[in-house]
């Protein structure tokens, strides 16, 4: 670029200014709403109250997590449930994404995508309450089961792990469908036909051609859904009630119920660190690189 030459170096300076100004809102946002609170929380989590208004630097909050069985057990349960929910979401979303990209044509494909999107126009709270109406003991589904003669009396369908999983899969579906659609869209149909032509069964084509191609999209979807599920508060709380034992509920309790901000902050960082670790293990096991996943999907 000729502008870089000495006589017009003012132009370069001008350009940098424009770039800085354009990025300023985003940077300000990142700094004020993400970096600052986290620094504050980090400081909170690293101190201990020894007497009223007297604090000392300490790691004891983090120690509590490992010493008290309840805390790490709830975390393990939350992580396992989130992994199961992610796997179920993938199983449900994959056929949907397949139909949208490879089976439906033109308008039908767009319509299906909108059908997936529409539930998200309604707030998550309202959707969770919708599940309550359907599943509670005096609700629609138990009533239907009695009418059909499948159960003698209405059964309580809420407050089970399966209920929580159902709600989580429903809430997460779109975040899995979108990356899957974009990665399946870039899969050339002739590759599928070529595999079929060379004697591959449907399953062999899926395993050897479709999944390797869609791997970055699958991984991206799984990361997003896992993180959202692990950090979800509303759905496990409403659908699982007191039985849900979701890790975010522990954080909520520490901050709001027990005013123990130090402990809550420490749990928050543990959630961040441990979930990042789980994602890293998942990436390693599937042989994907985070940078590739984010670029290709």
């Amino acid at each position: 670029m000729p502008e870089i030459s000495d006589p017009v170096s003012g132009r370069v300076w001008q350009r940098r200014l424009v770039l800085t100004l354009l990025l300023a809102p985003a940077l300000l946002w990142l700094f004020a709403l993400i970096v600052l609170p986290h620094v504050q929380l980090a400081l909170l989590s690293l101190r201990e109250r020894v007497a009223p208004h007297v604090y000392e630097p300490s790691l004891s909050q983090f120690g509590t997590f490992f010493v008290e069985p309840l805390y790490w057990q709830v975390f393990v349960r939350t992580a396992l449930m989130s992994i199961v929910a992610t796997a179920l979401t993938l199983l449900v979303a994959f056929p949907i994404a397949w139909v949208i990209t490879k089976v439906a044509r033109g308008r039908a494909s767009a319509l299906l995508f909108v059908v997936c999107l529409i539930p998200f126009w309604v707030s998550e709270t309202v959707r969770a309450l919708g599940w309550l109406i359907l599943l509670r003991e005096s609700g629609v589904l138990p009533g239907l089961l009695v009418t059909l003669g499948l159960t003698a009396v209405p059964v309580e369908l809420l407050y089970h792990d399966a209920t929580i999983l159902t709600g989580l899969v429903y809430t997460s579906l779109l975040f899995m469908v979108v990356p899957l659609v974009s990665s399946l869209e870039s899969l050339d149909n002739s590759l599928i036909e070529a595999a079929y032509d060379l004697g591959a069964s449907g399953f062999a084509t899926l395993r050897n051609i479709v999944i390797p191609h869609a791997a970055p999209g699958i991984t991206a979807g799984c990361i997003v859904v896992f993180m959202l599920t692990l950090g979800n508060y509303l759905t496990p709380n409403l659908l699982g009630g007191k039985n849900s034992q979701w890790f975010t509920e522990l954080i909520y309790t520490q901050f709001i119920v027990r005013f123990n901000w130090e402990q809550g902050a420490a749990f928050g960082f543990l959630l961040l660190g441990l979930s990042t670790g789980i994602v890293a293990i998942g990436l390693r096991l599937s042989g994907q690189r985070f940078v590739d996943v984010m670029r290709r999907s």
Binding site: A194, L198, S201
Partner: protein
């Protein structure tokens, strides 16, 4: 023609797309070991036909018999047919060797054996040791050979090729034409090749079917198509031709005399039935006409015309000159002799030309280029 059963035969094949007959009641047979091309303009139904043979499209009627076995209800992965796709469709997630071994793996051939068979096949197509490479490391021509190797390693009864040279640049295409023909001769597999490029079809094939509007206009050797076109469509589609529309003025045995709307009279051999006064069209190959500066040097028994040079179309051995006939301003293309005579021809110069009516052909037809 050999006496063996044909590798491919189609009987009354029919395919309808929303009221449009893509393939219209087609019956033909392809002999074992031959190179058979289906040549036609885009939208003529050739791709539909090929995909029906491969099994990706179910015919609405008729039957496809491959190697003596009806393919009714047989899925593509169970047919003794493999296809080389237009964009080749090599698997980017696999190495070259894995691509070639893919079909063998699906048949349950043990890994060691399929890798050695893939390596042997790569050697036969001139890609020794390329097995470990990624597909994107190969050149266009090499990919082409991998795509063919991937199919031929399965020893199919029939290899289908869907315009595989279309994506290559001209130089490579010329080269791959020769390579394809040599590969076909070396393997002896029956090739069914579809293309819209008449030169590919003529160079490569033992037999060519010219397809138009879902049916075959003519099936024959490249020589037959070129010198004995059965229909006006074949004459205009295969090779360069001067197309002259007019009415039949008189018939002298096999020779028809045609008069154009502008009153130009030419003579050509008649093909098929035609009535005096009816619309006809005549075709004269550019190389069938002779040029002379001195009228008396042209054959005395042929009608002689004079034309003004409109343009010189230099193309090496295929060079031609575009003449405008003096009386009617009809544009007539004449091939330049390869001896280099007339290399000094100038635009605007007037020159005599004539052609042998036996080498021109006339069909009954319609009134004009836009009719």
């Amino acid at each position: 023609m050999s006496q063996s059963t044909p590798d491919l035969s189609c009987a009354a094949l029919l395919k309808n797309f929303a009221g449009h007959l893509a393939v219209n009641n087609l019956s033909f047979a392809v002999q074992r070991g031959s190179f058979f091309s289906i040549l036609g303009p885009s939208g003529c139904g050739k791709t539909t036909l090929l995909r029906m043979i491969a099994g990706f499209i179910e015919p609405d009627g008729g039957d496809i018999i491959i190697g003596g076995r009806s393919m009714r209800g047989v899925a593509p992965n169970r047919r003794p047919v493999n296809m080389v796709f237009q964009q080749l469709a090599l698997f980017p997630m696999m190495s070259v060797g894995e691509n070639v071994a893919f079909g063998l793996a699906r048949r349950g051939v043990p890994k060691a054996e399929r890798m050695s068979r893939a390596a042997a096949m790569l050697e036969r197509v001139g890609l020794t040791g390329a097995g470990a490479k990624r597909v994107e490391q190969l050149s266009g021509g090499q990919r082409q050979r991998v795509a063919i190797a991937r199919s031929l390693v399965l020893e199919p009864t029939l290899l289908l090729l869907d315009e595989p040279l279309g994506a290559l640049d001209l130089k490579l295409r010329e080269h791959m034409k020769i390579e394809l023909k040599q590969l076909q001769a070396a393997f002896g597999t029956t090739f069914v090749y579809i293309t819209h490029d008449q030169s590919e079809a003529l160079v490569l094939s033992d037999h060519v079917a010219v397809m138009n509007h879902g049916h075959f206009e003519q099936v024959g050797t490249p020589q037959q198509l070129y010198y004995e076109p059965a229909t006006a469509f074949v004459a205009s589609f295969v090779g360069a031709n001067n197309r002259i529309f007019g009415r039949l003025k008189s018939l002298d045995g096999e020779i028809a005399e045609i008069e154009t709307a502008d009153g130009w009279t030419v003579r050509a051999r008649k093909s098929g039935q035609m009535a005096v006064g009816g619309h006809v069209e005549a075709f004269v190959r550019p190389e069938a006409a002779a040029l002379e500066r001195d009228e008396s040097l042209l054959p005395q028994n042929q009608a002689r015309y004079v034309g003004k040079v409109q343009a010189l179309l230099f193309d090496g051995a295929n060079s031609a000159v575009l003449l405008q006939e003096d009386l009617t301003r009809f544009e007539f293309r004449v091939a330049l002799p390869q001896t280099g005579r007339f290399a000094d021809l100038k635009v605007g110069e007037r020159i005599y030309f004539s052609f042998d009516p036996q080498r021109a052909i006339c069909f009954s037809g319609h009134g004009g280029p836009h009719a």
